[in-house]
């Protein structure tokens, strides 16, 4: 039963740097593909081919130059992300689309536990019961990702890169979503933690999520990919010298 979750049609992206005399940087051209529930599409290509850009376009962090990006939910309702209002985008991000990146944007003064619990609270509300529930689940995730309990009460600003990344993964994945965008999620992790993250992603996909991912490590990509897409297909015609 094919249930598409994401559909890109004729998407292209060109950056215009107005302060460098309007220098145009074409990155993507004519991107077309679909991702369905249970799929993990891995993007292949050398650095600079626009893999990360593509993920950001899907997340509406970047704006497309042309084309359409649609998200389709379980009930078949589709939302055109390129023209959606801010309100609609915020809602779809909250409920359906998760972005797992390498970099944790640190909010000062929030403890690791609360940082990870927060996506659940935004949904459940902030009463005592909800907070307790959310924190319990957060601690399960942190345990699985091997963040020592003594660190849970601290803000992650002083953690190592690998620790921050694992906290980020917990935060991004704790709330089940139908579409996961994975931007080098295992970049700074040791083999053991990498495998844990792979397992987590795998579980999410098995549970019905769709995923689009970039993995610098070929082996990891192989473990997760149900399909691969070569970014060379979307190279902009005008940028030959890449």
């Amino acid at each position: 039963m094919i249930t598409p979750v994401l559909r890109l049609t004729k998407v292209s992206k060109q950056f215009t740097l107005h302060h460098q005399n309007g220098l145009a940087l074409p990155v993507l051209n004519d991107v077309n593909f679909e991702v369905s529930a249970g799929e993990c599409v891995v993007l292949d290509g050398a650095s600079g081919m626009g893999k990360s850009t593509l993920l950001k376009l899907i997340y509406a962090n970047y704006r497309v130059s042309t084309g359409s990006i649609q998200h389709i939910d379980k009930d078949g309702e589709s939302l055109e992300l390129t023209t959606a209002t801010a309100r609609e985008l915020i809602a779809v991000r909250r409920q359906h689309i998760g972005y797992v990146s390498q970099f944790l944007r640190v909010i000062p003064r929030i403890s690791t536990l609360d940082l990870v619990a927060e996506p659940l609270l935004a949904e459940l509300g902030y009463d005592e019961q909800a907070v307790k529930q959310a924190r319990t689940l957060a601690s399960v995730w942190l345990t699985r990702l091997r963040i020592p309990e003594r660190l849970w009460g601290l803000a992650p600003a002083t953690f190592s890169g690998g620790e921050q990344q694992r906290v980020n993964i917990a935060r991004s994945m704790i709330k089940p979503r139908s579409l996961l965008l994975l931007d080098e999620p295992t970049a700074s992790l040791d083999p053991q933690n990498t495998q844990t993250v792979v397992a987590l992603i795998h579980e999410a996909i098995t549970a019905g999520a769709a995923a689009v991912g970039i993995f610098h490590d070929q082996a990891v990509g192989n473990q997760l990919a149900t399909r691969r897409i070569d970014m060379a297909n979307f190279r902009s015609i005008t940028c030959a010298a890449q």
């Binding site: 107005h18 962090n61 801010a86 985008l89």
Partner: protein, 261 residues
């Protein structure tokens, strides 16, 4: 989470304001929904303060409309209301956090009286309850409730700002305006205040409009952003989108000018 209603909490259409020959605000339009935090960024002279003042009914625009969704009555043009209605709104459904806390507080009465004033204005007449409510709110903004009888004169800058926030939020307003709420504060104090604002807006489901020149504040607090230059809105969108993929030349300049520590 607030229930998503059918119409925005604020609808701004075609606002214009000139001071003599100088056009301070040109054709500003946008909508704000319940629970959204909107940052208005721009440099000095961009028109952001003029816009904020028009939105908060502190200054009448030359043309255009600002419609606010009343609890009962739907979207209503705030400049078509009577002065009495506007003042009532300003005391109940709206909050305004000033850049300079002395503008937003009564410096010569106690913290408790500052927090309780709106309630007294609305007819609350029980001293014990007023005091208890005040203590509760002081705790929520991380001021020691034991200081309820102290004068704001004896508070630090950060504490005064937090007191201002408590004073505004006590009537559970649905829309809060903030004018450079962290300017002039030490960095660590700013962090505390920003965190507080972030948590309160989220938990109370406030809609909020924050004028700031600090992009980091916008990124932390706001879902959406408007960039202003010379009285015009030059770019608008999700905060992360405007900051990470700026389209307009001015926005690109602004974003690239920010120092990264």
């Amino acid at each position: 989470m607030p229930v998503d209603t059918q119409s925005p909490i604020l609808r701004v259409t075609g606002l214009n304001k000139s001071y003599g020959d100088r056009a301070a605000l040109i054709d500003a339009s946008f909508e704000l929904w319940s629970g959204e935090v909107l940052a208005i960024v721009g440099e000095s002279g961009s028109g952001k303060t003029t816009l904020l003042n028009a939105l908060a009914a502190r200054d009448k625009p030359d043309s255009g409309s600002v419609e606010f969704q009343l609890r009962e009555g739907g979207l209503t043009d705030i400049f078509k209301m009577t002065e009495a209605q506007r003042r009532l709104l300003a005391r109940t459904d709206w909050g305004f956090v000033h850049q300079n806390s002395a503008d937003g507080l009564r410096m010569e009465v106690s913290a408790g009286a500052n927090v309780g004033e709106r309630l007294m204005a609305l007819g609350q007449r029980h001293y014990g309850q007023l005091r208890a409510t005040a203590c509760d709110w002081l705790a929520r903004v991380e001021i020691d409730p034991a200081r309820v009888d102290d004068l704001p004169r004896h508070f630090s800058g950060g504490m005064r700002q937090r007191l201002q926030i408590a004073r505004n939020l006590v009537t559970q307003p649905r829309l809060v305006f903030m004018d450079e709420p962290t300017s002039g504060l030490d960095v660590s104090v700013q962090a505390k205040l920003l965190d507080l604002l972030r948590q309160l807006t989220q938990r109370l489901g406030l809609a909020s409009i924050i004028v700031t020149h600090d992009l980091a504040v916008a990124r932390l607090l706001a879902h959406r952003m408007i960039v202003m230059r010379r009285g015009q809105i030059v770019e608008t969108g999700l905060t992360d989108q405007v900051l990470d993929d700026p389209q307009h030349p001015y926005t690109q300049l602004l974003v690239s000018s920010v120092l990264q520590p």
